[in-house]
C-alpha cells in the first residue's frame, strides 16, 4: 500500500513538473511573441513602440508607386488614417479599397511596414476559400 | 511590342499588315474646324492607349458597334479617336447627335484617302495603338470590347 502510494505520488510529481515546465516555457515566450491586430483608430490611441499588425482598408487614391521601389498608401478604418511606407513586394490581390494588414512599426506619424498582406491573405494568396 | 493573337471563334480581326508597325502618316481636319490633326499629334495625347475608329453615318454595322465605343470611352486609360470616313460633316454630326458621341478627338476624312494609308476595306474598322504609336491590333468590323477591356485591365494589373 505504502509503495503504491509512493509511486503514485512520484508519478504525480513528475507530471506536474513537466506541466509546469511546459507552461512556464510557453508563458515566457508568449509575452514577447504575441502581436496585436489594431485598427488605425486603436493604433493612434495606443501608440505602441513595438511591432504590431495594422488592419484596415487601403484608402482610394492613396496608392503611390515610386520608381525606387518604395510604395506609399494610406490605411483607413473610415474614422482615422495612417500613412504607410513599404519597400517589399505587394500581394497580388492588394488594391485600393480592399482590406489590408500591414506588419511593422508606427513612428513619427508614419507606419513602416516590413510585410504587407491583403485581407484573408495570412501568407496565402487564395481569393477563394479552400482547405 | 504586344501582339494580340486571337485564338477564338470570333475571328473578327486579323493580324493585318500594319499590326506591329507605327501608325502611318496622316493628317486630317478636325470635324469642328479647329485645324489639322496628324499622326504626330497622337504622341502628344495624354493617355497611353488610343483607338482609331473609322465610321460613317451611312454604315449600318457602325450602329451595332457604337454602344461598345460609348462604354469604352468611359475608361480613363484609353483615348478614342473617331474618323468619319467618306461622310459629310452634317451627316456625321447629326448621326453622332442621335447615337451619342464617344470620341475624345473627332476627325473628318470626307475624301476617304485614309483607305490607302490604313489599308481599309470598309467601315467600321479600328486600330488599337500603344503608347509608342504602334498598332497593336486591327479590327475589321466592330471592335471586340471584351478583348480590349481584358487587354487594358491586364496592362493596369501587370505594369504599375
Amino acid at each position: 500500500m505504502h509503495k503504491k502510494v509512493k509511486s503514485r505520488l512520484i508519478n504525480i510529481f513528475l507530471i506536474s513538473l513537466v506541466l509546469i515546465g511546459v507552461i512556464g516555457l510557453m508563458l515566457k515566450n508568449f509575452q514577447d511573441n504575441v502581436s496585436f491586430y489594431l485598427t488605425t483608430s486603436e493604433a493612434l490611441q495606443k501608440n505602441l513602440d513595438r511591432e504590431f499588425r495594422l488592419g484596415g482598408f487601403v484608402k482610394d487614391g492613396s496608392l503611390e508607386y515610386r520608381n525606387d521601389g518604395l510604395v506609399r498608401f494610406t490605411v483607413t478604418d473610415f474614422t482615422n488614417d495612417i500613412a504607410v511606407e513599404y519597400k517589399g513586394l505587394l500581394p497580388d490581390i492588394f488594391r485600393e479599397g480592399q482590406g489590408v494588414v500591414a506588419i511593422g512599426l508606427y513612428k513619427n506619424k508614419k507606419f513602416t511596414a516590413s510585410k504587407v498582406l491583403a485581407k484573408h491573405d495570412e501568407n496565402y494568396v487564395a481569393v477563394e476559400t479552400k482547405k | 511590342m504586344l501582339y494580340l493573337a486571337l485564338f477564338g471563334p470570333k475571328q473578327k480581326y486579323e493580324i493585318g499588315m500594319l499590326v506591329g508597325k507605327p501608325v502611318p502618316e496622316f493628317s486630317l481636319k478636325y470635324m469642328e474646324d479647329i485645324g489639322q490633326f496628324s499622326n504626330i499629334d497622337l504622341h502628344n495625347s495624354s493617355d497611353s492607349y488610343k483607338i482609331i475608329n473609322f465610321f460613317a453615318s451611312w454604315c449600318t454595322t457602325c450602329v451595332l458597334e457604337h454602344p461598345d465605343l460609348l462604354k469604352l470611352t468611359k475608361r480613363q486609360d484609353i483615348e478614342v479617336v473617331g474618323i468619319a470616313w467618306r461622310d459629310s460633316k452634317k451627316a456625321a454630326t447629326d448621326w453622332l447627335d442621335e447615337h451619342g458621341n464617344p470620341y475624345d478627338i473627332l476627325l473628318n476624312d470626307k475624301a476617304g484617302g485614309s483607305k490607302f494609308k490604313f489599308g481599309l476595306i470598309g467601315v467600321p474598322e479600328s486600330f488599337l495603338i500603344d503608347s509608342n504609336n504602334n498598332i497593336i491590333a486591327h479590327y475589321r468590323g466592330p471592335i471586340d470590347l471584351k478583348q480590349i477591356n481584358d487587354f487594358l485591365d491586364a496592362k493596369i494589373e501587370l505594369i504599375q
Binding site: 508519478n11 515566450n29 502581436s35 496585436f36 488592419g55 510604395v71 490581390i93 491573405d121 476559400t129 | 494589373e157
Partner: protein
C-alpha cells in the same frame, strides 16, 4: 437530374444506414450473426453513387447545382473540375463520409465474431452522424436559384496538382482515426483489450501516420512552390490543426508499438487512440464554423459550428462513458530507463508539443471571443517554445539503439564519442556566430543521425538488417534529417527584395543575377509579362523566367515563381511590381538545404516500404 439523383442517393444512404445500425444493435444484443460485410458494401455503394453524382455534376458543368456554380466554370480543365468537387465545404464533407465508408469496408473484416458487430456498429454510427450533418446543413446538391451562363469558380491559384490531391490524402488519414476510436471502444466494451488485439492495428496506425505525413508534406510543398514566400510552414491555424492530428497519431503509433511488449502505458494508448478522432471533429468545428480567421476556413456558418460542436460533445461523452466504466487501472511499476522508459519519456514530450501547438492555435480564438482582443501568435512563439522539446526528443531518440525492452541502457564508449562530437560541432558553430537555437538543432539532429548511421553499419556488418529495424531507424533518420535541414536552412538562408533595372546585376556570394529584360504576350486564358534573368553560379549560366500573369476570366493577377533547383539548395525568384517596362521589383531567395528537408520528409514516408515482420 443531378439534383434528383444526388439527393436520392444521400437520403437513401441515411435511411439504409440507420436501418443497418438498428439491425446491428439487435444482432449485438441478441447475439445472432449477420453478414456485416454486405451491409458495409451496400452503404459504401450508396455513398459512392452520391459522390460520383457530384463529380458528374462538375464534369458536366451542371450549374443548376449551387455547389457547382460557386466552385467551377465550364472552361476549367477536366482534372480540376473533378478536384473542384472536393475543394469546398459540402463536397469535401461528402468525400470524408465516402472515405469513412470505404475504410469501414476495407478494414477489420477479420475482426472476429466477438468484436465485429459492435465495431461495425460504431463505424456505422459515425457515418450516420456525419451523413445527417451533411443532409441537414451542408447538402452539396442544393439547387441554384439563379439562371446563369457559367460558374464562379475561376481562381487559377487553386488549379495545381499537389493542391488538388492533398485534401483526399489528408482526409484518408483523418478518417482512419475514426477506425481507431471505434476499435478501442469496442475492445473496452467487450473486455477484449489486450496486447494481441492492439498489435493487430499496428500496421493500420503506421499507415495512418504515413498518409498524414504525405498529406501535410504535399500541402507544404505546394505552399513553397506557389505562394511566393519561399517558406514551407507558416503556423497557420489550419496547418497547426493538421499537425496536431499528426502528433496524436504519431504518439498513438509509439504507444501501440510499446504495448506489444508491455501494457504499462495502455491507458495512455486508450487516451490517444480516442482523442485523435475527437480532435479531428474539433478541428472540423474550428475550420468550418468560421471561428478561425485563417484563409483556409470555409465561409462562416454558425449553425454548422453549433452542429459540429454538438457532434464533438456527443462522441466525447460516449467515449468518456465507456472509458470510465471499463477502464482498468494499470499496476504501477518503477520507471526504468529501457526502451519502454524512453518512449514513456517521449510521450510526455509529445504531450508537451500538443499542448504548445494547441495553445498557440486556440488562444487567438479564445482572446477574440472572451477577451475582445485581436491577437496574432506567430512563428517566433512556436519555434522558441518547441525547441527544447524537440532537442530532448532527438536526444532520447538517439539513445534508442542502445536500448532494449527489458534491462537498462547499454551505454558504450562510442555513444560518449558521438555526444562529444556533437558538442564540438555545437561549440564550433556557436563561435562562428550561429545563434543558439540553430546550434542546438544542428547538434542534436546530428547526434541522432550519427547514432542511427552507426547502428545501420553495425547491423549491416553482422547481416542483421531486418525490416522492423530498418523501418524504425529510417523513420527516425528522416526526422533527424528534416530537423537538420531546417536548422541549416535557417543559418544560411538569404532573402532580399529590391528593384532591378534592365542590365543590372545583383551579386550574392558566388551567385550573380542579371535582369535581361521582359516580354509581354498572351497565352490562352491569360496575359503575361515574362521577365528574363540570367543566373550565374560559379561560372555556370542558366536562365530564369518568373512571370506575372493576368487571367482574363477571373481577373486575377498571379506571380509565377521560378525555382532553380541545385542539388540541395534552391534559388527562388519572384517578380513583384513592374515599372515602365525597364525596371521591376524582385524577391530573391537563396534557400539552402531546402531539398534536404523534402528528403527527410520522404524518408519518414518511405519507412513504409519495409514491411512488418509477422
Amino acid at each position: 437530374m443531378h439534383y434528383i439523383l444526388g439527393n436520392l442517393f444521400i437520403s437513401t444512404s441515411l435511411v439504409v444506414n440507420a436501418a443497418f445500425i438498428l439491425r446491428l444493435y439487435l444482432s449485438y444484443k441478441k447475439d445472432f450473426k449477420i453478414a456485416v460485410f454486405n451491409y458495409k458494401a451496400a452503404v459504401f455503394t450508396l455513398i459512392l453513387l452520391s459522390f460520383l453524382t457530384l463529380v458528374s455534376a462538375y464534369i458536366n458543368s451542371d450549374f443548376e447545382i449551387l455547389n457547382v456554380y460557386l466552385n467551377s466554370y465550364s472552361e476549367k480543365p477536366l482534372f480540376y473540375k473533378i478536384s473542384g468537387s472536393w475543394g469546398n465545404h459540402e463536397g469535401s464533407l461528402l468525400l470524408f463520409i465516402l472515405l469513412l465508408s470505404l475504410c469501414n469496408l476495407m478494414f477489420f473484416n477479420n475482426a472476429g465474431s466477438k468484436l465485429k458487430p459492435l465495431l461495425s456498429l460504431y463505424n456505422f454510427l459515425i457515418i450516420e452522424v456525419f451523413l445527417l450533418f451533411l443532409y441537414l446543413s451542408s447538402n452539396p446538391f442544393e439547387l441554384n436559384n439563379l439562371i446563369v451562363n457559367n460558374g464562379l469558380g475561376l481562381n487559377p491559384v487553386l488549379q495545381d496538382f499537389a493542391l488538388a490531391i492533398h485534401p483526399p490524402i489528408l482526409y484518408f488519414g483523418y478518417v482512419m482515426t475514426a477506425l481507431f476510436y471505434s476499435y478501442i471502444l469496442t475492445l473496452l466494451q467487450t473486455g477484449e483489450f489486450n496486447k494481441a488485439n492492439i498489435k493487430k492495428i499496428e500496421s493500420l496506425v503506421n499507415l495512418c501516420f504515413i498518409i498524414l505525413t504525405l498529406g501535410i508534406g504535399l500541402g507544404s510543398w505546394w505552399a513553397y512552390r506557389e505562394l511566393g514566400w519561399g517558406g514551407y510552414w507558416f503556423w497557420d491555424p489550419v496547418e497547426n490543426l493538421a499537425l496536431l492530428v499528426w502528433l496524436f497519431v504519431t504518439t498513438l503509433l509509439h504507444l501501440v508499438i510499446v504495448n506489444k511488449h508491455n501494457s504499462k502505458l495502455q491507458n495512455w494508448l486508450i487516451f490517444f487512440g480516442l482523442t485523435g478522432f475527437l480532435f479531428v471533429i474539433l478541428s472540423f468545428f474550428m475550420v468550418r464554423s468560421g471561428i478561425l480567421t485563417s484563409v483556409h476556413s470555409f465561409s462562416a456558418d454558425p449553425h454548422r459550428g453549433v452542429f459540429l460542436l454538438l457532434i464533438f460533445i456527443a462522441f466525447t461523452v460516449l467515449a468518456a462513458c465507456v472509458v470510465i466504466h471499463k477502464i482498468k487501472p494499470v499496476k504501477a511499476s518503477k520507471f526504468i530507463l529501457n526502451r519502454l522508459g524512453l518512449i514513456e519519456l517521449n510521450n510526455f514530450l509529445f504531450a508537451a508539443l500538443i499542448i504548445v501547438v494547441g495553445f498557440g492555435t486556440i488562444y487567438p480564438i479564445f482572446a477574440t471571443v472572451f477577451l475582445k482582443q485581436n491577437v496574432f501568435i506567430g512563428a517566433p512563439f512556436f519555434n522558441k517554445t518547441i525547441l527544447p522539446i524537440i532537442l530532448l526528443m532527438l536526444f532520447f531518440m538517439s539513445l534508442l539503439p542502445r536500448s532494449n525492452w527489458v534491462g537498462k541502457l547499454r551505454l558504450v564508449k562510442s555513444q560518449a564519442y558521438i555526444i562529444i562530437l556533437a558538442l564540438i560541432i555545437a561549440v564550433a558553430l556557436y563561435f562562428v556566430g550561429v545563434d543558439i537555437i540553430n546550434v542546438g538543432l544542428v547538434a542534436f539532429s546530428l547526434l541522432l543521425i550519427i547514432a542511427t548511421i552507426k547502428e545501420f553499419y553495425f547491423f549491416y556488418k553482422h547481416k542483421k538488417l531486418k525490416p522492423n529495424f530498418l523501418r524504425v531507424h529510417v523513420g527516425h533518420l528522416g526526422f533527424a534529417v528534416f530537423i537538420l535541414a531546417i536548422a541549416l536552412n535557417n543559418i544560411s538562408r538569404f532573402e532580399t527584395e529590391r528593384v532591378m533595372r534592365v542590365g543590372e546585376v545583383f551579386l550574392h556570394k558566388n551567385i550573380s543575377l542579371e535582369f535581361l529584360g521582359m516580354d509581354e504576350g498572351e497565352m490562352g486564358n491569360y496575359y503575361y509579362v515574362r521577365n528574363n534573368f540570367k543566373l550565374t553560379i560559379d561560372g555556370k549560366e542558366g536562365k530564369l523566367y518568373p512571370e506575372k500573369r493576368y487571367y482574363k476570366a477571373s481577373k486575377i493577377t498571379t506571380k509565377e515563381t521560378q525555382i532553380k533547383r541545385l542539388f540541395f539548395h534552391d534559388i527562388y525568384l519572384v517578380v513583384g511590381e513592374i515599372y515602365n517596362q525597364d525596371r521591376l521589383k524582385i524577391r530573391f531567395i537563396y534557400n539552402p538545404y531546402i531539398n534536404l528537408l523534402w528528403l527527410g520528409s520522404l524518408l519518414l514516408i518511405l519507412q513504409f516500404v519495409f514491411r512488418r515482420e509477422k
